[in-house]
């Protein structure tokens, strides 16, 4: 995909160092991370509302910012960047009607008609004369998007635009956003701290934590193979664990998880190396006590005790506690129909098996960090 929006910036705040490098093509790129990670600051820098210390921002080959931190810098002011920005709480002008808000960025004699066209397109014509305080959350959100798109931006930035909406309105708007992106062919950066939102709208995801960009890739890629402990934590991934390499052999990587042996997929790591890993919840299988074992459950058998079970429309989620020296909690996910004839009632003792491919070893991290992260839990 051709890069249209190129961002490579750095800015120091007291106690916080923002360092982001990413390219956005003709797509919706999700900028994902916990609150305080630097997502909004990144958007503000792209829009020209804050000035990075150094770096470069370019849109369709047009430089918007360039500075080496010393001497003269190029810094196109926000109002000439042609970058649309939809703010988290919409920032609608309270003294203007919906129509007035959408017409705000337009010029010339036909501006009201043009604004009305955008309102119609967002199915807002019936509220054109109302003030923001008289609109529902979803309507405000659509006014904010209409107002931004009416100015004909060359790129679109959305800051948690769906966080305050009910699930129904959210779903509709998320589908609408994907359609709009495809139709207008704009590079879109979509900031969110909700993984659900990310999956609903995004094609690629950029994970940011503590001011630094951690990993960029397709959603499937990043979620199934987080590049680091930080990325995994940013996703709120369950089943994170700390282990030590016992030996690496052709059949797999043998790990010592507080005395329990786990076999992960083969990887080149030296014995004694401390690693951070996570167990994919959908790769943990319960073993029926009264049935013969299948080949799929040869590895990584652990005794567990059921803590609770939640049944959703499209998933079954069981939380268990390992009955070993580690006393860790694990999440087990399956389709709802699986285990229909195995009562997973609290306190029941069972055995689980985990395929080696279900144990993902994240980057082996420095010892100091590993212990600090490990003690704070997940």
């Amino acid at each position: 995909m051709d890069a249209r929006l190129v961002v490579d910036i750095e800015k120091r705040y007291p106690g916080f160092h923002l360092q982001v490098r990413l390219t956005v093509g003709n797509e919706v790129l999700v900028l994902y991370g916990p609150s305080g990670a630097g997502k909004t600051q990144t958007l503000r820098a792209i829009a020209g509302l804050v000035r990075p210390d150094r770096g470069e921002i370019a849109l369709d080959g047009r430089p918007l910012f360039r500075s080496n931190g010393r001497g003269r810098a190029l810094n196109v002011p926000a109002h000439r960047r042609r970058i649309g920005y939809v703010f988290q709480d919409y920032a609608l002008f309270p003294h203007l009607t919906a129509l007035g808000n959408v017409a705000f960025g337009l010029r010339g004699p036909g501006r009201r008609e043009e604004a009305m066209r955008w309102l119609r397109r967002m199915r807002l014509e019936q509220v054109a004369g109302l003030y923001p305080s008289q609109l529902s959350g979803g309507q405000r959100q659509r006014v904010a998007i209409a107002r931004t798109l009416a100015t004909g931006p060359a790129a679109l930035l959305l800051d948690e635009p769906f966080s305050a909406l009910d699930p129904d309105a959210k779903g509709r708007l998320q589908r609408g956003l994907r359609e709009l992106q495809a139709e207008l062919a704009l590079p879109v950066v979509y900031v969110t701290h909700s993984l659900e939102d990310a999956f609903a709208v995004g094609q690629r995801i950029a994970v940011i934590a503590e001011g630094k960009l951690q990993q960029v890739g397709t959603l499937e890629e990043v979620v199934s193979r987080p590049a680091s402990w930080r990325v995994a934590r940013a996703f709120g991934l369950p089943n994170l664990l700390r282990a030590r390499v016992r030996r690496a052999t052709a059949d797999g990587l043998h790990l010592d998880w507080e005395g329990l042996e786990l076999v992960a997929a083969p990887r080149e790591l030296s014995a004694g190396q401390e690693v951070l890993a996570y167990i994919r919840p959908e790769e943990v299988r319960f073993i029926y006590p009264d049935r013969p074992l299948s080949a799929a459950v040869r590895h990584n058998r652990l005794r567990v005790r059921v803590l609770e079970q939640r049944l959703g429309p499209d998933f079954r989620l069981v939380r268990v506690r390992t009955e070993g020296p580690s006393w860790a909690e694990l999440e087990v996910r399956s389709p709802p129909s699986t285990y229909a004839d195995l009562p997973l009632v609290p306190d029941r003792e069972l055995e689980v098996a985990i395929r080696p491919s279900g144990i993902v070893v994240l980057e082996a991290l420095p010892q100091a960090e590993a212990s600090a992260e490990g003690s704070s839990g997940s």
């Binding site: 109002h79 000439r80 042609r82 002008f93 960025g105 003030y131 107002r147």
Partner: protein, 214 residues
């Protein structure tokens, strides 16, 4: 009294204009800009609130009189004119305007101004189309208060412009002269008129300070 009423209206009118322009600009500066000496400027501008008006007038004699840049370079003859009285009245009324206008401007959500910028509006447009419209209640209420104060100004205007009947004698001076000269009826009438105007200005201010019903 008619003569004095006309002088008073001229003085108050010009003072209101001065307060409106300088008050808005200074309020913007104090609410939004960060610069060295900001606190000092703030204190200096608030000083007329607590100084005796005669002291303000005394300083203004130097600022407006012979030897000052306004007099010697711009050739402005302000002492003992109604325009001079207007300047003195506006200096005393300005702090009241500033307090209210500044708070109103500071209360405008900066994100709205940012939104206007990303919608392609330059700084002057952001000011005229977002900041000032959103702060207009506080600015107007401050202006009414400041101009009511200018209307009632006595000490500073007396020092700067004197008490020349038909030229610089304003209604507050009529009250002073009448009361000293034993014309208590005139003093009472004039006082009643000034009180009525002051009451109206305060009522207007009060109304503007109430939240908008929308």
């Amino acid at each position: 009294m008619t003569e004095a009423l006309i002088v008073t209206l001229k003085v108050t009118g010009l003072a209101t204009l001065i307060i409106a322009v300088f008050g808005t600009l200074l309020a913007l500066l104090l609410a939004r800009a960060r610069f060295p000496g900001r606190t000092l400027l703030e204190l200096l501008l608030a000083l007329p609130l607590v100084l005796p008006p005669t002291v303000v007038g005394f300083f203004l004699l130097y600022i407006l009189g012979r030897g000052s840049p306004l007099h010697d370079w711009l050739g402005l003859e302000l002492l003992f004119t109604w325009q001079g009285a207007a300047v003195a009245a506006s200096v005393v009324g300005l702090p009241l305007m500033l307090q209210s206008a500044r708070a109103a401007i500071a209360a405008v959500d900066p994100e709205l101004e940012d939104a206007a910028r990303t919608l392609g509006r330059s700084e002057p447009e952001v000011l005229l189309r977002v900041t000032l419209p959103l702060a207009h209640r506080g600015i107007l209420s401050g202006l009414f208060l400041g101009s009511a104060r200018a209307l009632g100004e006595f000490g500073a205007t007396l020092m700067v412009a004197g008490n020349i009947p038909g030229r610089t004698r304003t209604l507050p001076m009529v009250v002073y002269d009448a009361a000293l000269g034993g014309d208590l009826a005139l003093a009472a009438q004039t006082s009643a008129l000034l009180s009525g105007i002051a009451f109206l200005a305060l009522a207007l201010t009060r109304r503007l300070e109430q939240p908008a019903r929308r």
